[in-house]
């Protein structure tokens, strides 16, 4: 297998590195390449050290690599910071002023190529030349993106791209990064979509029938909403920036009560503020989808980094007892499909449903086959007012716990919802017997959720080394497993894209059969492993945790597997 190429563009916020990255990505995808793009950035607007990483080659990929083959350094700091990650064959594209004295260094006289604000475009053109992308392909990407927003700038961009290409042709050293045509694995006639996790979530929500979203800006969840806003008018959605997260969740619940499939998107602290609202949704049995894009906590923590540290909090958030479901997509495709599913599930169960993602998944992009809309039926909120038993009672006690849900104002029936314990009519009640019946009714709906649990996915061998993971860790874990398998080891991966409810019959035997079970989680304490033990009694004794704010990579996992094996002896 030809080795893939890891490109890293580094510089300050405001230097336009995301723009280069996105344009390069677009061009590569259109050229039928497999790529994986991911970002790290600081919690500031200008300055700091940001990176945009792109893997290119015979993918598909679902994780970044730690080592770097092509470093594009927009400032001197980038060279210093990433030097240790450079592979032997690495190229370093950097301004002549700070290009290092290394074999692969290409000292570019950016000043000669054009004005400073366009140096990112110059770097893009240089990269294109290195990778062997046709000039046309890259320029089209620039045109498609810039043409819409700032057509007046197209010409100067084109000019600097030309100049840079020419300079590159003349000065590029020997290297082996030209993409051979053979690596264009995807059928380039089929237009793939280049999407990051948050974009896929937004599209999944729209496909699932979303009509209302309220939010308060919070990284890394905001871009879900930005995407929704872009399409709101076309799709007939109402998106509202609320005065805070408490308002957001209560607005969403009000809207859902009145018939709009609704969601909120937030992160850590914002979610904490929503906990009371979650409990309200449960008590009033109002469907609502909460997207929680995790970042490292506690408190403000690291706003722009990644972590899987809020599983237990999301599982138990809200006072009192009630059922819920938590979906945790492992890929861009799952971001789409599970969001649509989640909307259906919350309406179906009249219980809160969560989508648990994180900054890594939110901000990493990959080409995907356009989603099939036919398989997805958008949510139809509420029941048919013609078909309910009369007198209509919002909380009628039924064997499965589901009561007919009518929408206020859409029939002559009156709909009464209450956050107090209530009778079948929705009026507050302090009757002990009724209380018992209503608790049972609400909890009964867990059975409905259990009927629709997405089973964990097993890949590879079952009985030797089994890597257990959930949510966004899927990509790096699968890659590590593939590498180990290439080395002749027997390795399986078991990935949960639904972390609650758990059905032990779907996976317990697998855990029991494997020789060595290793839990992989992007947190410090192994929350999912604890949950598994709580639900099954099975102890995942060995854990690999990461909590420095960065996502897992295959390299990281392989190293840990190695050292841990050494530490624990050959059991």
């Amino acid at each position: 297998m030809q080795q893939d190429i890891q490109i890293l563009i580094g510089g300050e916020a405001g230097q336009g590195l995301v723009t280069i990255g996105q344009l390069l990505g677009k061009a590569l995808v259109r050229a039928g390449r497999e790529i994986f793009a991911s970002q790290t950035y600081h919690s500031r607007v200008r300055g700091g050290h940001n990176t945009f990483a792109m893997r290119v080659g015979a993918g598909p990929f679902a994780a970044p690599r730690e080592s770097i083959d092509i470093l594009v350094a927009l400032n001197a700091e980038t060279v210093e910071l990433h030097r240790p990650q450079l592979t032997k064959r690495a190229l370093i594209i950097a301004d002549a002023a700070f290009a290092p004295e290394l074999p692969g260094a290409i000292a570019v006289p950016f000043g000669e190529l054009g004005p400073e604000k366009l140096w990112n475009t110059a770097a893009l053109a240089l990269l294109g030349q290195v990778l062997g992308l046709q000039e046309q392909q890259l320029y089209q990407a620039v045109e498609a993106t810039l043409g819409q927003k700032k057509p007046e700038l197209l010409e100067e961009n084109q000019e600097i791209m030309k100049k840079s290409r020419e300079w590159a042709k003349a000065h590029l050293p020997e290297h082996d990064f030209v993409l051979a045509d053979a690596t264009a694995t995807a059928d380039s006639t089929q237009k793939r979509l280049l999407l990051n996790g948050n974009q896929a979530i937004a599209l999944g929500a729209l496909a699932g029938g979303l009509k209302f979203c309220a939010f308060y800006p919070m990284t890394p969840s905001t871009s879900v909403v930005l995407e929704l806003i872009t399409h709101a008018e076309t799709m007939g959605c109402v998106i509202e920036q609320a005065e805070d997260e408490i308002a957001a969740i209560n607005m969403a619940i009000g809207a859902a009560f009145a018939g709009a499939p609704a969601m909120v998107a937030t992160s850590g602290g914002g979610f904490a503020l929503m906990a009371e609202g979650i409990s309200l949704a449960a008590m009033t049995e109002t469907p609502v989808l909460t997207v929680v894009a995790q970042r490292p906590g506690p408190a403000t923590g690291m706003p722009t980094r990644t972590e899987q540290g809020d599983l237990e909090f999301v599982l138990h958030a809200g006072h009192g007892e009630f059922p819920r479901a938590i979906l945790a997509p492992g890929s861009i495709e799952e971001c789409f499909t599970l969001t649509a599913r989640a909307l259906a599930l919350t309406e179906r169960s009249q219980s809160p449903v969560f989508l648990l993602t994180d900054q890594f998944l939110a901000d990493s992009a990959r080409p995907v086959t356009p989603f099939e809309l036919n398989g997805i039926t958008p949510v139809r909120p509420g029941d048919d007012p013609e078909k309910v038993a009369t007198p209509y009672r919002r909380y009628r006690l039924t064997p499965d716990g589901l009561s007919p849900r009518l929408l206020p104002g859409l029939s002559e029936h009156l709909v009464v919802a209450d956050s107090d314990e209530h009778d079948e009519d929705g009026h507050l009640s302090e009757d002990y017997g009724l209380r018992t019946a209503m608790v049972k009714k609400r909890l009964q709906k867990l059975e409905l959720l259990k009927e629709e649990v997405t089973a964990p996915t097993l890949e590879g061998d079952q009985d030797a080394l089994l890597l257990v993971c959930w949510g966004s860790s899927l990509g790096p874990v699968r890659e590590a497993a593939a590498i180990l398998r290439d080395r002749g080891l027997k390795v399986g991966t078991l990935h949960f894209s639904q972390v609650w409810p758990l059905l032990p019959e779907q996976f317990l035997d697998l855990l029991q059969k494997a020789d060595r079970v290793v839990g992989v989680e992007g947190n410090a304490t192994g929350q999912f492993a604890r949950l598994i033990r709580r639900e099954t009694g099975f102890t995942i004794a060995e854990l690999i945790n990461r909590y420095d704010g960065l996502p897992f990579t295959a390299d990281f996992l392989l190293e840990r597997l190695e050292t841990q094996r050494a530490e624990t002896g050959d059991r």
Binding site: K191, L193, E240, F257, P370, G409
Partner: protein
């Protein structure tokens, strides 16, 4: 035609003699005057004695969290612009418990929404602590030396914020009050009716008699469209408490931002699948 009877009669959990009864009756009269049938109306409440009111009325009800009636009301209105949405709650709920933040945000937005504040100037349900509107010096179990902070004047703040309809009523003047509520419901925009409400159990300062002595109707000459005049009147709150429509103006409706709302309730609108298919191509 809707009649008072359509709005039903319920047993309440209020103390005998409470000002809430007057407000409930005035509201029913106003709804009838507005010719609204119960199913066209959505009452949204928080938690408190006042917030129980919607349970004593035949209508759609969303009885949410303490302090959070306004966001829920706004959500509902944005999902179904055909509903007449009335947020009804106590002073603690609307001006305390973070509610104030939602209150200001609601005034800034100006949806077509009515806010009825049962302002008994005390936390009733939790047994008599000071509320944001409590009279300075009011002694309670939690304020043994008397409420210290200067009371919140919702009417003055609303006028300052340029809210589009600001009125003050009194639970003891049923006819005027129901007129104010009806005007508020008919007003296109966010309408606040702050209602002076005696609490016979916990507020021994602001009693029926006290209100009788302090409240006066705004003179005929008062021009509610004159902001400066309105502001002056709004700041009057002490020896004399003016009742009536204090300020009214026209402002664009928040709902008008959303083209889709002109097509009626969101629940009745199909998901435009074709358009979705197309817009996905933008990511190619």
């Amino acid at each position: 035609m809707t009649t008072i009877a359509d709005y039903g009669k319920y047993e309440t959990a209020w103390c005998p003699g409470c000002g809430n009864f007057g407000i409930l009756n005035a509201l029913k009269q106003a709804l009838v005057a507005c010719e609204l049938a119960p199913h066209q109306v959505l009452m949204v409440a928080g938690i408190g004695q006042a917030a129980k009111a919607p349970h004593y009325l035949r209508a759609n009800v969303f009885n949410g969290l303490h302090g959070r009636s306004l966001p829920a009301a706004i959500g509902a209105r944005l999902a179904n612009p055909e509903l007449t949405v009335i947020a009804e709650s106590g002073d603690g709920c609307l001006y305390g418990e973070g509610g104030n933040h939602h209150f200001l945000a609601a005034l800034r937005r100006n949806l077509d929404l009515t806010i009825l504040a049962h302002d008994n100037r005390v936390y009733g349900l939790t047994k008599g602590q000071a509320s944001p509107t409590s009279q300075q010096g009011m002694v309670t179990k939690t304020q043994p030396h008397g409420a210290f902070a200067s009371p919140f004047n919702p009417v003055a703040v609303a006028v300052t914020m340029g809210a589009s309809f600001v009125a003050r009523g009194y639970a003891g003047k049923l006819e005027q009050l129901s007129g104010l509520i009806a005007a508020a419901i008919k007003h296109k925009g966010t309408a606040l009716v702050d209602i002076m409400q005696p609490c016979v159990s916990f507020n021994k300062l602001n009693t029926y008699q006290w209100y009788q002595e302090h409240c006066h109707e705004l003179p005929e000459e008062h021009d509610p469209t004159d902001r400066e005049q309105a502001l002056k009147v709004a700041l009057e709150f002490g020896e004399r408490i003016p009742l009536g429509i204090i300020y009214q103006t026209e402002r664009p409706l928040f709902e008008e931002q959303f083209a889709t709302l002109s097509k009626g309730p969101l629940a009745r609108q199909e998901v435009p699948r074709q358009e979705l298919q197309q817009l996905m191509q933008r990511y190619a």
